[in-house]
Symmetry: C2
Subunit: 329 residues, 2 copies
């Protein structure tokens, strides 16, 4: 089986590749050829060295999509995107990368199939940013997409293209709407959503973290491990069961900042909680107030997708996967 | 005020131009300059002759959009599209005309505004084809768009672009989701939906018509007069009131074929009904079974849009507008 991962150097991409390094058949059959694509060459774990090539390529460049599709991969996992803030600040770049490059990929697949039948599985990383406030208390599977960012618009448009290309038989697609990933590994960044991870990751490493909003702020989460699990499950799922509506809100955990902190206390003690410094930031509070807080991901759950059901589980996944099971003393 | 109508030679376009010929201020202020664009030159009614130019232009050609926007129209009404059947049969043409040409128009407006502030009103003819079965009994304003045709996909994508360009301040847009227009003037055509009009229009002219489905088939209708009225109302509406969700399902009439026929009998007598020949067609019945039957167009209604509430009204509008008020003897 040939697998193409676009956006392989990103956070979810790297974790998916690490999973494949541990379990070569995680996506179904054994992998004969794995192509990792990103604007910088993605790291190749040693166990995958014999079958893997890392290609530094910008999918938005002319001819890039055709070059990747010429080898006719069986599974294409498309994770690459300009993030929300950048797509908002640079309108043209956001549309070029998040919409035009993805459409070029879809078109390359369609055209490849004109010479000889070709119908790969395409798994696309979408986002709950396809939804825009005001929301119902729980967003159901039939709630409409009225994004309030250019990033969300680009994701929603790609979802529509993915469904149409699937319906026409050009490929077999699934759009996977990721929750906010928590705990994000790495250093604190400037994303407005960063604090959801910072207030757990930093204290777990014995460092201070800043909390800019109140404890009653509620949001929708899944761990990096669950995010990888969604793609692993989707790679093997019988997509006939999904029907023509090919974009699924993934399961997640609806929780408040207060619930995050309580779980931190249970796992790492009061000492960890004392490392959270409260610095209210009205600008961040305003942005976050427009985000969805809860979903009923009934379709995805019925199809066998699963995520954490408590913040204790999310924290434990981080301690196991990032800290070698160790807590700070 | 400068007005640009794209798709001006189509059915709704021609009727809108006729309305402007009768009422030069129908869209608000008096029109100083009216540009009618279509792939063939649109007819220019005599009363509009002094201010109107008809341009034969294919918006999907390079540079066409820039050429139209250079004169900085205040109101742009975009009605042009490849119809559903053609967009399904010719995948590339459908995307080129219905998506790429419309996006080129939006982009031309955005770029025009970079030199000197420019923020026209853009009214876009969308369609209930953005919805795909299965449906609730009544489709509400928050039901999701999962089109089952490439045409519906292209309309849904344009709706998303229209909202984002509006949110970013590039123009002030409104997407107008038209019901099935009935009674369509002209001759019977091969559109699967043609019979809804044929079974009224032909008997009203003393001609035979074929009914390929059962009398219990229900669908969603408005007259050509109402369709024009939607754009006239939208041209003057305070769009601030609409908020960021800029695509509206227009009001219409949910009615069955049997109700159409009963109204025909009330207005034109049993003789007219006898001109309807029943020729069941399983293929057409199957297509029509996937179409929406009823909507709750609450938002548009609250914003002052209105349509017929009975088929008697729809038939009378046709008799007045197309038959000079005369019924066949």
């Amino acid at each position: 089986m040939r697998v193409l991962i676009i956006g392989a150097a990103g956070m979810v991409g790297r974790k998916l590749v690490e999973r494949l390094a541990r379990e070569r058949t995680a996506l179904g059959d054994d992998i004969d050829r794995l192509t990792l694509v990103d604007v910088i060459a993605a790291p190749v774990p040693v166990p995958l060295g014999d079958t893997t090539e890392a290609v530094a390529l910008d999918l938005s460049q002319a001819g890039a999509a055709e070059r990747l599709i010429a080898s006719r991969p069986d599974i294409i996992i498309h994770l690459a995107a300009v993030v929300s803030g950048e797509a908002e600040n640079d309108f043209e770049k956001g549309y070029r990368v998040n919409l035009d490059a993805t459409r070029a990929l879809f078109e390359a697949i369609r055209r490849e199939g004109r010479t000889e039948p070709y119908r790969p599985r395409v798994l696309f990383a979408s986002s709950i940013a396809v939804f825009g406030a005001p929301f119902p208390d729980k967003i159901g599977d039939e709630f409409f997409s009225t994004p309030l960012t250019s990033y969300g618009t680009q994701k929603a448009i790609t979802e529509l293209l993915l469904s149409d290309y699937t319906r026409r038989g050009f490929f077999d697609g699934l759009g996977i709407r990721l929750p906010t990933i928590c705990i994000r590994p790495g250093k604190p960044n400037k994303a407005a959503s960063g604090f959801f991870s910072n207030i757990l990751r930093e204290p777990l490493a014995g460092e201070e973290a800043v909390l800019p909003v109140g404890e009653d702020v509620r949001h929708w989460f899944a761990s990096p491990r669950s995010a990888v699990g969604f793609f692993v499950h989707a790679a093997k799922l019988d997509l006939e069961k999904v029907g023509p509506r090919r974009n699924l809100t993934m399961p997640g955990l609806s929780a408040t900042v207060g619930e995050e902190i309580a779980a931190l206390g249970r796992i790492a003690g009061e000492k960890a909680i004392r490392l959270i410094r409260r610095e209210p930031d009205a600008a961040i509070a305003r942005i976050v107030a427009g985000w969805a807080t809860d979903f009923d991901a009934a379709r995805a759950t019925t199809l066998g997708f699963s995520a954490e059901t408590s913040f204790d589980q999310i924290i434990r996944a981080h301690v196991e996967d990032e800290l070698g099971g160790r807590l700070p003393v």
